[in-house]
């Protein structure tokens, strides 16, 4: 919070609260950036949850660390490193985990190996750099308040490109996610589509980690999608709901953080988790079968085996 700002106060009048926030240029930029990122993360995250690639998404998020460290070593902006390593990570995961017909056991292990290798490289870069990386907390948990006009513009352009590409390949992507064998038999290039999606995921993760920090990207990438898919099984409806939820969560989190000493990413994660729990718990209590957070409809459980 800049020193010249008068002490922010939270009133019961939401209009005055919002106008207080939007009085400052840095807050307007923060709201714009988090809004752009939320829409992109919501859309990509919805697909990621359907494709069950949460671990891959997390591994791509961790690429931010070697990315930032390499950027510091080469004295280039940290964002370049983010995007370069997220792209490289997506290629590595695609090569290792989806290169051939492998079981999900091998897949999760090889994603873990990619992540460990990337983190080890990042650690090497840091020690070669010789210093403490500017601010590890900011690196891990993000900082939304210092975003410039130019960064907002870059984020907006990136979001447009990513969403356009996602929309372009939406149908074959969904097809090959739901039933890869049949899609492959019908001539859908499953392997290439998987790789393309990983690259899009890498771009979305790198952009999201500018707002939430790499460790908390799932607050926008997974939680809104899982919540929406628990509410409705209809794809179009849950997709729209995901974007609305992500947007609401991001703006609410950034807005609350203006009035408090704690970082925005904490509020984004907490708000998103609270909504998720509020949706899931009543469903579980009444015993209604809802779509699991994985996006797969729950089968009737074999009684006696699990509670």
């Amino acid at each position: 919070m800049p020193a010249e700002a008068p002490a922010p106060y939270l009133s019961w009048n939401p209009v005055s609260d919002v106008s207080q926030i939007l009085e400052y240029h840095f807050m307007v930029n923060a709201m714009l950036a988090s809004g752009i990122v939320a829409v992109m993360a919501g859309l990509i995250g919805w697909m990621m949850v359907v494709r069950r690639q949460t671990f891959a998404g997390h591994t791509l998020a961790m690429m931010a660390f070697p990315g930032a460290a390499a950027a510091a070593l080469l004295a280039v902006p940290a964002a370049w490193g983010y995007f370069a390593f997220c792209g490289g990570g997506a290629l590595a995961i695609g090569r290792f985990a989806h290169g051939e017909q492998r079981s999900w056991r091998q897949e999760s292990a090889s994603i873990g190996a990619v992540q460990a290798a990337a983190l080890a490289a990042g650690f090497l870069f840091v020690s070669l750099y010789g210093g403490v990386l500017g601010d590890l907390e900011t690196l891990l948990f993000g900082s939304i308040l210092g975003i410039s006009d130019r960064q907002v513009l870059v984020l907006a352009l990136l979001a447009v490109v990513v969403i356009a590409l996602l929309a372009g390949m939406a149908r074959p992507l969904l097809f090959s996610s739901v039933d890869p064998q049949v899609a492959g038999a019908r001539g859908v290039p499953v392997g290439r589509i998987a790789l393309a999606f990983l690259l899009l995921l890498g771009a979305a993760v790198a952009a999201t980690s500018q707002v939430t920090g790499p460790l908390l990207v799932f607050a926008l990438l997974v939680m809104p999608a899982a919540t929406a898919q628990a509410i409705t099984p209809r794809p179009a409806l849950s997709l729209a709901l995901t974007v609305l939820l992500a947007l609401g969560v991001a703006w609410l989190g950034v807005g609350i953080s203006y009035f408090s000493p704690y970082p925005a990413s904490f509020f984004i994660a907490t708000v998103a988790f609270t909504i998720y729990v509020l949706v899931r718990v009543p469903a579980a209590m009444t015993g209604r079968r809802v779509r699991g957070p994985s996006g797969h409809a729950g089968e009737p459980a074999p009684t006696g085996v699990i509670a």
């Binding site: 999760s108 090889s110 948990f141 607050a219 997974v222």
Partner: protein, 277 residues
Amino acid sequence: MFAQEFMRNALIAGTAVALTCGVCGWFVVLRGQVFAGDALSHVAIPGALAAAAAGIDERVGLFVATVAVGAGIGLLGAGAVTGRAGRAAVSLPADDTAIGIIFTFILGLGVFFLTRYGMGPGASSGILASRTLFGSIFGLGAGEARLAAILALAVLAVLLAIARPLLFVSVSPDVAAARGVPARLLGVGFLALLGVVAAEATQAVGALLLLGLLAAPAAAAHRLARGPYLGMALAGALALAAMWGGLALAYTIPALPPSTAVIAIAVGIYYLASVVA
């Protein structure tokens, strides 16, 4: 090399951690739970920070957080895996989305504790977070190394005791459940055990080493060895080889951090195994 005390401590703790991670990792890969192991190592950070913010020993927070979250993931995952068994046997992973949601929420709390702790006197949260993430195996005391060794022995003993039923449940959950093996209890127990491993490894060598040693040697062993006990032994041996090789390499090349060297060897082994087999 062995004349240095820090090196002896590193070797003792490293051997203990590598053996446990290798053997545990074999089951982790078999059960497709690498993400759960990864999540546990991340949860260690908020645990340590919360303990620091509350002013108690950070190790208490570490162990409480990882074991509790391990058991929690186990409770969710056990239902998920068995619930799906009817349709697709074991071809689907444990519920990654739920894991992602849980650990993101807990890391969100970590941000809160980080800020809270950072406001207090003697703020050094960044250093604490960095130590939890990357560890410092060359900075261990004799007491910490001994503790790591004792814990490793205990974990290995428990794991060997439950190895047979756990194997049965992991390979064919339906048949095991029909035979009256407590599948859910074993799943939860295994993840709680993994929580202990995560806390110990994170504290001694950092979350980074934990993930690498859990995933890479075990995945290589799954490719190379057929039988379960042979696979477990091979996973332990490969993890040990990576640890010793990495420590020796880092000792010879001062610019190379030990964690990087160990992980580089472990991932190299995995790559070779995936090319060969």
